[in-house]
């Protein structure tokens, strides 16, 4: 049973006061995320990522279609006990301390009275906020609030965790910590569905990704498969500080790096390049396949040409 499934999930707004025009925030979306997956939901700002998450959380109602989480309707309270949600740029009751907030949330999530303080302490430790547990949230920095957000999303040990831009506003250390946390969630067998527009994070963490643009799903699949479909290149580095003209002809990208030189050629031209270097008596240092990055895939999926091809 997929952890998350959408069937033609759609959201259209009518904007305008006098002449109502429809604005489509999300075109019919069909998606399935398996249990235990870490799924990246990518797209530029305004693509509809947050809209999708809100629909899945039951905060908004779709204009068409439906979704299921763990095989049940999204608004089913039994489902809600099994999911955690971190909204984008979260804001919490600032008059509460971290511990009070988490205990309140634990109560609402149905965590029994006896287990409550234990769980809260454990999760505070896990996100590294144990020392500020008694401090009012209004004194927290952005990074600390983000960690509180993650804490409240996982404190009731949910099976599926939804994170909207979990790295936003964090410094590199913070981001590393969140990444590690997400890794550990995966190891616990949880399903993690997170949206982001930072591709390097997605590359590092995800099993599968989907790319969303202007409300439309542009691509979905395992990262390795997606990136391999982009034509592979090979990077060649040699000593000598000289670029033979033959290499120039083979590759538009070549330059000198101190005493060495570098060129990027297509896979099928590798032999020709190595030959050219041998003829010039230049010493080969390394030959490395350059995989297309997710970014290439991303940019390609967003391009108007892609739209025209559809």
């Amino acid at each position: 049973m997929p952890a998350i499934e959408t069937f033609g999930l759609e959201k259209t707004y009518t904007v305008g006061f006098w002449r109502k025009r429809p604005r489509c925030a999300l075109l019919p979306l069909n998606l399935a995320v398996e249990e235990g997956e870490v799924f990246g939901y990518l797209g530029p700002n305004g693509a509809g990522k947050t809209t999708t998450l809100k629909l899945l959380m039951g905060l908004m109602f779709p204009t068409a279609g439906c979704a299921k989480i763990l095989g049940r309707e999204v608004n089913d309270p039994q489902v809600k006990a099994q999911i955690g949600f971190l909204p984008e740029q979260p804001y919490f009751y600032d008059y509460l301390t971290a511990r009070e907030l988490l205990e309140y949330y634990a109560q609402l999530s149905g965590v029994g009275a006896r287990a409550r303080s234990r769980r809260v302490a454990a999760v505070l430790e896990r996100v590294g906020l144990r020392d500020v547990a008694g401090v009012q949230l209004r004194k927290f920095s952005k990074g600390m609030l983000q960690r509180v957000g993650i804490a409240q999303a996982i404190l009731h040990d949910p099976k599926v965790v939804f994170l909207d831009e979990p790295m936003s506003g964090l410094d590199p250390i913070g981001r590393r910590e969140v990444r590690d946390l997400m890794e550990s969630l995966k190891q616990e067998g949880k399903t993690v569905f997170f949206s982001t527009h930072i591709l390097s994070d997605a590359e590092a963490l995800c099993d599968r990704v989907a790319v969303l643009h202007k409300g439309e799903l542009r691509g979905i699949g395992v990262i390795a498969d997606l990136t391999s479909s982009v034509r592979g290149k090979v990077e060649v580095i040699w000593q000598g500080g000289v670029i033979p003209p033959a290499i120039h002809a083979l590759s538009p990208e070549c330059h000198l790096i101190g005493a060495m030189a570098r060129a990027v050629v297509d896979e099928n031209q590798l032999d020709a390049a190595i030959d050219a270097l041998r003829r010039a008596n230049l010493k080969l240092v390394s030959v490395t396949p350059v995989r297309a990055t997710l970014e290439d895939y991303f940019v390609e999926k967003l391009s108007p040409a892609e739209v025209a091809a559809r």
């Binding site: 629909l55 039951g58 109602f61 779709p62 439906c66 979704a67 309707e73 999204v74 608004n75």
Partner: protein
């Protein structure tokens, strides 16, 4: 994934049922409240305090108190009450808040003066009210008329009434009738014709439906007060000629004394009573009459507003 239809239906049902039940409860509460507490609500001892409390919105508050005065009077009148204790204070408050609310003076002039159950029976309070009105609105001839009316109606002080009408006639654009009334009042205050002129004037001058209806009642009473003695005189003439009183109106018609069966203003035929008297058939239908009442029957207590 939509909001559950089940929940929506239950909530909507709760809303409607609770609202209906709430309205029902408040009607029960209204009945349970003793009327004295109701009056307490209406009343604040000092108009000047009220004026200060109204934060400048005196006009609106005056309207509210005016409505309360009308309702208070109307509510009690329907029950043929003999007590209208709060009418004068309510009108006082109204006019203190808005001295230019002329209809309040008119209302007071009539319904404070008339004896219960058709009024509070307090002509002095009425005089005080209207004099205040005159002070605040010296160019309003209607108020002089109202004042004269009070002196005429219950106090029967025709001299003072004449004076009031006289003063009123001096106001620019005053109704020419006032001068006429002043003269009449001085000479023939007690006349039926004078009364008719006054009540007709009241009827014409006012736009308030209670005042108009009251004026009509009085005019009808005047008709009766005029008709009954006239009919009794005709009957006496018949008696002198024939030696006996007529058994029915047909006899008088045949004898040429009356053109047809005479009807009172309420539409009922007059009754021929023993000893040549004429009575009205349904005294209750004609308040304020002083003639044509069967013995033992007082002037109508039933209000006919």
């Amino acid at each position: 994934m939509r909001p559950s239809r089940h929940t929506t239906a239950i909530l909507a049902a709760i809303l409607v049922v609770c609202l209906a039940a709430a309205v029902f409860s408040i009607t029960l509460a209204d009945r349970a409240r003793p009327s004295s507490t109701l009056e307490e609500m209406l009343y604040i001892p000092s108009p000047s305090v009220l004026r200060r409390m109204s934060l400048g919105y005196t006009g609106l508050l005056a309207d509210i108190y005016w409505t309360r005065a009308v309702q208070y009077f109307g509510g009690k009148h329907v029950l043929a009450s003999h007590e209208y204790k709060l009418l004068a204070p309510l009108l006082d408050i109204t006019t203190q808040l808005d001295p230019h609310l002329t209809v309040a003076y008119q209302f007071g002039a009539i319904f404070l003066t008339q004896p219960p159950p058709n009024g509070a029976g307090d002509p002095d309070a009425a005089i005080k009210l209207v004099k205040f009105g005159i002070r605040e609105n010296p160019d309003n001839w209607h108020l002089y008329y109202n004042l004269g009316f009070i002196y005429y109606l219950e106090k029967k002080d025709y001299v003072a009434a004449a004076q009031a009408f006289e003063q009123g006639s001096k106001v620019p654009h005053a109704h020419p009738f006032l001068k006429l009334l002043a003269a009449r009042m001085a000479e023939r205050g007690g006349d039926l014709e004078t009364a008719r002129m006054l009540w007709t004037m009241t009827y014409d001058d006012s736009r308030d439906k209670d005042i108009k209806a009251n004026a009509i009642s009085h005019l009808r009473a005047l008709q009766v007060d005029e008709a009954v003695p006239r009919l009794e005189q005709l009957i006496r003439q018949y008696f002198e000629r024939t030696g006996h009183y007529p058994g029915n109106w047909a006899e008088l018609v045949r004898a040429g004394y009356v053109p047809g069966i005479p009807l009172d203003p309420a539409g009922h035929p007059y009754k021929l009573a023993p000893e040549g008297k004429v009575w009205v058939a349904v005294p209750d239908a004609l308040p304020f009459i002083t003639q044509g009442l069967p013995p033992g029957v007082k002037a109508s207590e039933m209000p006919r507003l």
